[in-house]
Every structure is written in structure tokens, then in C-alpha cells.
């Protein structure tokens, strides 16, 4: 992906935003901030409170719980929402495996974003359900 691609265009290409109109996607892009991380930096920190919400727009990251790698995340994946929605400390580390570009939103603003765009909330719910199913399948 080109580094100079506008955030709105990036979001428009992701399934999560497929139900939103272009002005709505622009509104989301304007509400959020784009940030970047060098390879090997922690983006989310297990046990620390009040994390932000992140969505990867470029690069790869790894989810680690107690230092053990659990899964990898890539473009279009989001994280931080569990801690934000449950108002609890982050349940995992997320570490950048490459130069990582993310769209981020303060945790306190996530509620307003989801209420403003119910279609986005529904898409996120589907992703969360998929993650829950995967977790249940892992159980012995």
C-alpha cells in the first residue's frame, strides 16, 4: 500500500466499513488519529489500564499473553476493544512485527463511534463472534 494513501481510502477498502457511506467513512477517519510504530514496539500492554482502540491500516502485529505468542494481526484487524468495552486493563500485549500504521481512537470515544454507526458496530460484533467461536474451539 502507498504510504501517502488517504486514511479514508484505506478504511473504504476494509470489510469492517463496507456498510458505511463515503461521508460516514470520512467522519470515522476524521474522528480517529493515525499513528505509527517502529518494529518491535508494544502498542497494547497487558495489565495496563485505559488502553486506546486500534485498527491496523498497514503492517503486522502479534498478540502475546504472558509473553506467549497467541495470534497474528494484519491490515483491517482491530484490537484494544475488549479492555475498552469491559473497562478493564488490557488482556494481552500487542507488539508490532513490522513498521505498523494504525488508526486509533481514545477508548472513551469508542462508545460514541459505535452508537453513531450501528452498521460498524454490527460488523465488529460479527468479528468478535468469530473470535469467540475460535476460542471455544480451542478448548479441550
Amino acid at each position: 500500500m502507498k504510504a501517502d494513501q488517504d486514511l479514508t481510502d484505506v478504511l473504504a477498502s476494509l470489510a469492517l466499513f463496507a456498510d458505511l457511506s463515503r461521508p460516514q467513512i470520512e467522519a470515522v477517519a476524521h474522528t480517529c488519529e493515525e499513528v505509527s510504530f517502529p518494529q518491535g514496539q508494544r502498542v497494547l500492554r497487558q495489565g495496563f489500564s485505559h488502553p486506546d482502540f486500534y485498527l491496523i491500516v498497514e503492517g503486522e502485529a502479534e498478540v502475546r499473553i504472558d509473553g506467549v505468542s497467541r495470534t497474528k494481526l494484519g491490515r483491517g484487524d482491530f484490537f484494544g476493544e475488549v479492555a475498552v468495552l469491559l473497562d478493564e486493563p488490557a488482556t494481552a500485549d500487542v507488539v508490532s512485527l513490522t513498521f505498523l500504521r494504525c488508526m486509533t481512537l481514545p477508548g472513551s470515544d469508542l462508545h460514541q463511534l459505535l452508537v453513531s454507526f450501528p452498521e460498524l458496530m454490527f460488523r465488529m460484533l460479527k468479528v468478535e463472534t468469530g473470535r469467540l467461536r475460535q476460542t471455544l474451539e480451542w478448548r479441550p
Binding site: A3, D4, Q5, D6, L7, T8, D9, S21, R22, P23, Q24, E26, A27, V28, A29, H30, T31, E33, E34, V35, S36, F37, P38, Q39, Q41, R42, R45, G47, F48, S49, H50, D52, E58, G67, P89, F99, R101, T104, P106, S108, S116
Partner: protein, 495 residues
């Protein structure tokens, strides 16, 4: 000026600093304090950087309070004075307040520029002015900075070139026909005109506020809703200084209209512009004609060919990705200073873009370069075990670095096996928390539901625990409860 009198002719230098704004000047000041030989070059003809042109409507949004609860010129005073550049020696310090005429706690552009020029003169900061950075090469020895006057070779390059290039989103048809707000004419050229302002961030309202006495009507539009700094308790929101247009709209003043809409298209007409809008929070479409239009769509750093030598960028190529110590995320040896450091991410969001925030980066950056690139040993001051809790709480209450760069900068006390407790100074909190280092404790200032609160990070081996302290109505964090709690937490670690 005769060329022979100018410092730093092209050649080899251990470090080259590009830029003569507050970032470049302070970086040079602090590199010199560490005895690091360096050259400073600038395309400008005088010091000041962005303050030679900005703010456009003449007054800053950062305060310098002439009458503060603490003594002027002290470290604690820095929280009450967001504009003065830093100096290690009080004799080198130049307070912006002495140039202000008392009509506002926000200095004018001219007052700020005067203070910066005086800082450069008083501290004899040498700059090769009129020397334009034109290109960059990377080789086995470091970098070659190609300029209008020849090549500069260096091991370390520091770019403090500001974030003031006009930037427009690429996907709005016709946007190329309207000026960016940096290119606007003086306010009187808008006398009696209708104006479309594309954008609703602070810069949009700065324009609208400045043109209230001139324009006959203004429409401000962007897809997301306005957020106010006083509601968000964050400088990221619309600054209180520029809320007058919002009040005009709120009470139906008919001069200002504020819309949550996407700009679909801008058409150049025989006279003026036709703007097509589509609601973002509600479904509507509108086409409006204006005498003039302006894009307040943000600014970018003039990175020239740095991306071509591997410098990773983000935000539409506007900023370089950086480590917590402001080194390029992808090209070691290239560092950034000044307002570009807003591209680095702290523990919660990016660092600040204004002088009050990045001035601390310059001091820490120089010290970091001295250690990392030139093998200098950092200065560490012993801390008595019995003083540790009081020291940390005092830093949380009064440390200007912690308040000006919340959750980015922290005071660090190391637990050294030989020396005992040592004050390591101010460092990026993310570095303390994320990278292997000896045990220690870091204190920072965070915001819990908008309320400033102290936060402590205690490292023991590879484990780092977060301890959020309680706030205080008068923001004095040295409360009995915080003392008791912190004493108990640190007892296990320090013995």
C-alpha cells in the same frame, strides 16, 4: 553577509542539524552542552522557523503567564510558560514574558519571534543561514546532506524542518483550485465576501474567528462533529480561544454556519466557487455558491527525498514514523526534532506538536545522541531511599515535562545494585516500560476520565506493574493516601 563569515561550510561533521526554528536551535544548544560537534544549516535567513510566518492570525494558542504562583524562570514555572525555549544554565534562559505587552497571556507572533531570535543571539547559536537542504544520500559512513552550497557528510542527521507545508486530501475534485489557509490573503481581502472553509479543526476556527469582522458569511464543513478542548479536557479539541464562531452559529447569528458534511466537489465558477456537500451524520445534499473558499485540511513535514532512502512515513506521507527517542522507525541515525516529533507515539497517543511539548524532546534527544552515538556516560544523581516517595510525588505534581508531555515523558529512578537509587532524569515512558533495562520506577501524569492523575510504573526484572495514584482537587498529588500507597508498592522492590 560575506560568505567567508558564515559558519559551517560544506564538509564532514559528526552531526548535522537541519532547521533553525525552536527545534533546531534548542537541539544545537543541548548538543553543545554535551560537547558534540555539529553543524546547523537552514534555508531561512534568520532564526525562528515557523514563527516567522505563524500563527497567521497573529497570536499563539499557548500561554505565558506573567504572574504565576511560582517564580519566573524556575523549572516549575515552565508549566505556566509554554513558549520560552529551554536552557540548562539560568543565565542562558530567555523568557518570552519580557517581550509581551500585557494585552494577552498568549504572545503575538512578533513577540514569540523576538524571543527566539534573542535566545539564538544570547546563546551564540551558530547557523549557516541561506543554505537549503536539497537531497539526502545514505552510505556506509552515515549520510550525505546535499545542499544549495555543497555536500555535508555526517554520522547522524537531525531534521527540524517544521510541519508547515500545505496538505490537501487527494480525493476531492476541484480542491486544487482553492488556496490552502497557509496561502490565504490578508483578512481585508475577504471584506464583504462569502467564504467556504473546508475543515473544522482549530485552524478552521482560527480563520473563521479572524474573519468575523470581515467576511459577510462563512460556512465551515467537515464530516466529523466539533469537539471542544474544554469538554474533552484535551488540547486535541477546538481551543477555547477560537470558539466565537461557534457561538455565532449556536445563537443563529447568520454569519457562521457549521455543517457535518463531506465535501463532494468544488467547481470554479466565473466568480467564486460552487461547493457540493453531502451530510455525514444525516442524509442530505446541498450545493452552495461562495465568493471565496479555503482549505484548512492540515499540514505536512517537508521530508523531501527522505522516503526514497527508506524513511517510513504515515498519515498520508505527512510525518515520519519514529521511535520513542525520535529516531526514524526505519533508518537508524536519522533523528527528528521540533514539531515533527508529534509523529512519535507515547503510551497514550502521539507527542505534542507545539513548543511547550517538543522543547523537552530537544534536551532529551541531545543527551540520547551523546550516549547512543558518541558513547557518553549519562549523569545520574543519587536519591536517598527515605526521599524516594516524596521525590516521585513532587515530580508528578510539579515536573513540567510530565505535564507538558502527559504519558510521553516520565521521571525515572533506577535501582542500581552498586549505587542504589539513582535519578536518571526525564525519558520517554514507552522506552522505560517496553525495553529491557535495570529495575526502577517511572512516574508520569495521566488523565483518568479527564482528571490529571499521577501514574507510576514499577519495573522488577521483565515485569512492569502500573500503579495509578489518586488525583487531588488542588492537583497536589502528595496526599497521605498516595504516600501510603506508593510506600507500600515500592517497599517490595527497593527493600
Amino acid at each position: 553577509m560575506a560568505p567567508v563569515d558564515r559558519p559551517f561550510p560544506p564538509g564532514d561533521y559528526p552531526v548535522v542539524v537541519v532547521g533553525s526554528g525552536p527545534g533546531g536551535l534548542q537541539t544545537s544548544y543541548f548538543l553543545r552542552r554535551h560537547g558534540i560537534e555539529h553543524a546547523v544549516i537552514s534555508k531561512d535567513e534568520e532564526p525562528g522557523g515557523m514563527f516567522r510566518q505563524f500563527p497567521l492570525f497573529d497570536r499563539l494558542v499557548s500561554w505565558t503567564k506573567p504572574y504565576a504562583p511560582v517564580k519566573e524562570g524556575t523549572r516549575e514555572y515552565e508549566w505556566f510558560d509554554w513558549n520560552s525555549l529551554l536552557a540548562d544554565d539560568p543565565a542562558d534562559w530567555v523568557g518570552v514574558g519580557q517581550f509581551m505587552d500585557g494585552t494577552s497571556e498568549f504572545p503575538s507572533r512578533e513577540e514569540m519571534h523576538k524571543a527566539i531570535t534573542t535566545y539564538a543571539e544570547k546563546n551564540k547559536i551558530q547557523v549557516r543561514y541561506g543554505c537549503t537542504w536539497e537531497g539526502t544520500e545514505r552510505n556506509e559512513n552515515g549520510f550525505v546532506i546535499k545542499t544549495s552550497e555543497g555536500d555535508y557528510s555526517c554520522r547522524v542527521a537531525v531534521f527540524g524542518v517544521g510541519v508547515a507545508e500545505p496538505w490537501k486530501p487527494p480525493n476531492i475534485p476541484g480542491i486544487e483550485d482553492i488556496p490552502h489557509y497557509i496561502e490565504m490573503g490578508p483578512p481585508k481581502t475577504y471584506a464583504g465576501k462569502s467564504l467556504y472553509i473546508l475543515g473544522k479543526a482549530t485552524s478552521a476556527f482560527e480563520v473563521a474567528d479572524g474573519l468575523l469582522p470581515w467576511a459577510k458569511s462563512m460556512v465551515l464543513s467537515s464530516p466529523s462533529e466539533v469537539k471542544l478542548s474544554v469538554v474533552e479536557r484535551s488540547l486535541a479539541g477546538l481551543r477555547a480561544r477560537y470558539t466565537q464562531p461557534l457561538e455565532d452559529y449556536a445563537i443563529g447569528g447568520r454569519t457562521v454556519t457549521i455543517l457535518d458534511a463531506s465535501t463532494e466537489r468544488i467547481e470554479k465558477m466565473h466568480e467564486g466557487f460552487r461547493v457540493s456537500l453531502r451530510g455525514s451524520m444525516a442524509n442530505w445534499e446541498l450545493s452552495l455558491d461562495f465568493d471565496a473558499a479555503v482549505a484548512t485540511t492540515g499540514v505536512s513535514a517537508p521530508l523531501q527525498d527522505l522516503p526514497d532512502i527508506g524513511v517510513a512515513t504515515f498519515s498520508g506521507g505527512r510525518l515520519p514514523g519514529q521511535t520513542p527517542y525520535w529516531e526514524s522507525a526505519s533508518v537508524p541515525g536519522i533523528y527528528f526534532t521540533g514539531s515533527i516529533t508529534q509523529g512519535a507515539v507515547g503510551m497514550r497517543g502521539p507527542g505534542g506538536a507545539a513548543v511547550h511539548a517538543f522543547r523537552y524532546c530537544t534536551r532529551i534527544l541531545a543527551s540520547h545522541i551523546a550516549q547512543r552515538q558518541f558513547g557518553q556516560t549519562p549523569k545520574r544523581t543519587p536519591v536517598k531511599g527515605s526521599d524516594l516517595v516524596d521525590f516521585l510525588l513532587d515530580e508528578a505534581t510539579r515536573g513540567p515535562e510530565l505535564w507538558n508531555q502527559k504519558m510521553y515523558l516520565a521521571r525515572v529512578v533506577g535501582f542500581d545494585k552498586k549505587q542504589g537509587l539513582v535519578d536518571e532524569g526525564i525519558h520517554p515512558l514507552a522506552h522505560f516500560v517496553d525495553y529491557d533495562r535495570p529495575d526502577g520506577v517511572a512516574v508520569a501524569v495521566t488523565s483518568v476520565e479527564g482528571v490529571p492523575s499521577p501514574v507510576f510504573y514499577v519495573r522488577s526484572g521483565s515485569r512492569v506493574d502500573e500503579v495509578i495514584g489518586e488525583s487531588d482537587l488542588m492537583l497536589d498529588f502528595a496526599t497521605p493516601e498516595n504516600k501510603r500507597h506508593l510506600t507500600s508498592v515500592l517497599k517490595d522492590v527497593t527493600g
